[in-house]
Amino acid sequence: MRKYNFAREYSPYPGPRTENIGPFSGARFKKEVLDPQFASNVPIEIDVSGIRLSFGPSFMSEAFGKCAEQYTKKRLFEIVRVPENDDPRNKRFKELLKEYADRATKK
């Protein structure tokens, strides 16, 4: 399993939907970080405890919602993991992940 510190390795400020709107976008995160993990079938544990800005709806739907749509919700939770600790940001991130995966796959 790959351990990934979001704030250190990507940005402490999660960006907008796509890169043409602003840097550190959800689309870029999906392309550069999530897609290779799905391709190699190696789970990734994303630790978001260092972020300084909350994840916005645009970032979440573009990065994780799109993954749920493309690879199914089940595969998303197999590949993307969140550390089990007391950090409130990680807890909230886990909730958001579920919320946006549900929204993206709702029929």
């Binding site: 402490p12 400020y13 999660p14 960006g15 907008p16 939907r17 709107i21 602003g22 840097p23 300084r52 800005l53 909350s54 916005g56 709806p57 645009s58 739907s61 573009e62 919602g65 799109k66 409130p88 909230r92 946006y100 929204r103 993206a104 709702k106």
Partner: protein, 369 residues
Amino acid sequence: MKKNRPSKATAHRFYRFKKSFYRKFGRKPFVTLNKKMRKERKQKKRSIKKRRDHDRIVVKLPEIISLEVSSRSMFLQEINKIHKIAYTTNSAKSLSIDHSQIRHIDPEALLILASEIKRLSNVLPVGKFKYSKKYAPRDEHIKDLLGSIGYWNHFNITTAKHTDLTKEYFQIHHDTKSVFQAVADMRDFFEDKLSFLPSGDLTETFDNALTEAIANAVEHAYKGSISGSNTIPGAWWIAGHFDPGSNELVFGCYDHGIGIRESLLMHEGDRIARWSHLTKVRVKKDAEVIKLLLSQKLKTNNKRDRGYGTQQFIKLIDNYGHGSLDVYSKSGHYRISKDGLQKKDIIRNHNEAMDGTLIVWKMKVEREG
């Protein structure tokens, strides 16, 4: 003319005298002017001033800079005047903005003025638009406010200091991309200086409301071209402050784009969604269009993952419980306010249209101490 000019030798002698005088006394010698010379000098000064005044256009800002009904029209008229001058005037003329009469400023209205200054400095050649001490505000409080909110930075002046400790300002921040660090900085400013926004839930809605407003400005506000105006594509401005008088935290986001109605008409949603919302947008006035958008009654896109951004604007006021949201776009103004369980909304369509969209949140604060 040639007769009066001193010879080269005389001029050199005078130069040597001045030099030695300066060495000896450390200052320039006083020159006693005769009546004729005095008259000539006066005339020369007068003609220079006349020429300078002829080449300068002065726009006088009104006493009250605000978007409230009573002062909105006067303020926007002056903004339009600046706008017109900047894009139609002869480039040989310079422009000055007279701040001396200002007695009251709403910091959110200041975002509109600051954006206009930014546009001017982009359009007018260097030196044609500059700060003049003569036109500085006379009111000490206004001087402090403009200094502390970073208004003069738009004139490339960074020397202003502020002494008004009763109000606290987060400086105007401007960019053309959705760079969200400023949002986190503003939230930290409110948290550190004002001990406000402590709960995690509120932090998230605060972040989402402002980041979505910025992202909307960059993504939707500058679609297509605006004829006759030099906009800065993607530009947005944010600012915030705490007013102890009203015990309110005020912050907002402004773009000088095409406005909500035009932006919706140009929206690239899918065909069915597009047809159904176009008919609504076309027949309604600006304020009604804003209300439709915020109340989620306009389906601009059938994609499941789109259309959640504007929800965040109201969510902040809903979650907090005591405050208001004002959205100004072109001639429309929509306000939604919440006080506990009571929720009210006001719709206003004005005669004068402003450029772009201004979103302002006001939150009542209980401060410790």
